[in-house]
Symmetry: C2
Subunit: 308 residues, 2 copies
């Protein structure tokens, strides 16, 4: 099957591929090591031998001016977001964030006060989640402000939750409210580290991920990784105030947890959760079903290249 670009006779661009296919294509043939438990395709890389009681988690994430935030944005909030995004990925594996490196590429004309605001936001997140920022780099760039965070964390091997462990019949839950992130929440969200640790400490969670691209994109990914079909109860979605079902499904940047656990544990979870987290709702939004995983996304989600 030829792409639109090929039919038109122009060279294919990274946008023609889309982010997921591009990464899979580019990463082909890379060497691995015996201690790599998970690489491309999960929220974090997982490193450790099968016998190690503790595994290391490794993640990078970047935030770019005019792509992830507007130029006039308060850089304190951008700094918070920059570190909280990979923290959310570590949380989604059931882990604890520990050490970070910060990369800033910026035009030489950037005011020092703005750079300080950015780092103040990063520092606030580091303090809130007990992350040691152990170094980093600043570099001159002709382009937009670019912030990249590399984050290491750890997780007990028996509490490391991947996307692929879901089983047919599992109940699907999400934390918090969905949709409306563009109104500002995408800069102020709280990664669900405490909640995920509580979940893996008290329940047999089969599969988990964080909602970064929206439930419409992310749920099919979890189901597909778990080799399952799914049923989504659209009328049950915990919609943010003023949001439609479509927005709750597709806005993205919710940074809430999506997880699957045995249906027989669902009632006990729903009983215990409000005592542990009285301010944060927990909602069952569907179930995993037997049958072939859905090959394509049923609803549009966010693709980092497609929205050119």
């Amino acid at each position: 099957m030829k792409s639109t670009a090929q039919k038109a006779g122009r060279p294919r661009t990274v946008a023609d591929f889309g982010e997921n296919r591009l990464i899979t294509d580019l990463m082909r043939g890379f060497p691995t090591r015996r201690d790599v438990r998970a690489g491309v395709g999960d929220d974090c890389a997982v490193i450790g031998s099968a016998r190690d009681p503790q595994w290391r988690l490794f993640k990078t994430d970047s935030v770019i001016e005019s792509v992830h935030f507007v130029p006039e944005e308060d850089l304190r909030r951008v700094g918070w977001k920059a570190l909280c995004r990979p923290i959310s990925d570590i949380a989604a594996m059931g882990g604890v964030p520990e050490h970070a490196l910060v990369t800033l590429a910026a035009p030489a004309t950037m005011a020092v006060t703005r750079a300080r605001a950015l780092y103040a936001g990063i520092r606030r997140a580091a303090l809130a989640f007990k992350v040691a920022v152990v170094g980093g780099e600043t570099s001159r760039s002709p382009g937009p402000i670019f912030i990249s965070i590399a984050l290491m964390g750890s997780v007990e091997s028996h509490r490391c939750i991947r996307r692929s462990g879901g089983k047919a019949g599992d109940a699907l839950f999400v934390t918090g409210w969905l949709g409306g992130s563009a109104a500002g929440r995408h800069l102020d969200f709280h990664p669900r580290v405490t909640e995920a640790r509580w979940l893996t400490g008290h329940f047999k969670v089969h599969a988990m991920m964080d909602l970064s691209d929206g439930l419409a994109s992310d749920l099919p990914r979890l189901a597909s990784a778990s080799a399952c079909h799914f049923a989504l109860w659209k009328d049950q979605l915990p919609k943010s105030k003023g949001c439609t079902t479509g927005e709750a499904l597709s806005d993205g940047e919710d940074y809430e947890l999506l997880f699957a656990l045995p249906l027989r544990d669902a009632a006990m979870l729903q009983e215990q959760w409000p005592r542990a987290f009285p301010k944060l709702p927990l909602t069952q939004v569907g179930v995993l079903l037997p049958g072939p995983p859905i090959p394509t996304l049923p609803l549009s989600g966010y693709d980092h290249f497609a929205h050119g």
Copy 2:
């Protein structure tokens, strides 16, 4: 003392600060953790408890189009360089590189063939130095092509060599030839992992770093971190073919090792080195001296913001 910018009444920019002062300023007040052995100011962050036999090394490094390479450059060579730069930092601590994550931010119009060339170069370096690339990210950017690598490695705690361990009287050595990197070697260099491992396995190396900004910038850093003065034997420099002494001192991007070890071991090192590495010269370029460290750089080196 007021800066030029303050005198002129305009806000100070990141370029006014320069890279080293900027990083120190921005990183003020960040939380740390008890297991952080070294953070800002060494080649890598070092993580592990004092009793651990093995420590983790953590480093990020970025390469930006029009700053670190020209737009028409072969992206295979750029990919090689992107991964080899942080490998060189791991080597400089005496460590072994292990796991990497790759971040690519690029315009949506970038041809897939060019992205593939870039990753082919990264893959070649990964294979050469046994690094597992365990994931990464691609993101759309309006700006120049931006590649950032996050690299983890490890080192036996007793073989972890920092910049700060040099002692007055130590002999100072450099591997390879210096200068002339702009002619192309800055894209094709070989990080000195094997050489550094051999050195720390056979000799009591006191301090070590890799030469990224040129001996004129980097030697004062090592001496200053070691609270020493130094004597540099300029007429002894191993100059690359066709290079002046000034170029050997200041071109930068040599990615050779600079290290200090006890003078009494220097003769044995010079005897054994050529048998281990017959093709790579090893040259004593000076000694560490007692006395206050030199507060400012004696010769101009590379500053990532100053060369606007």
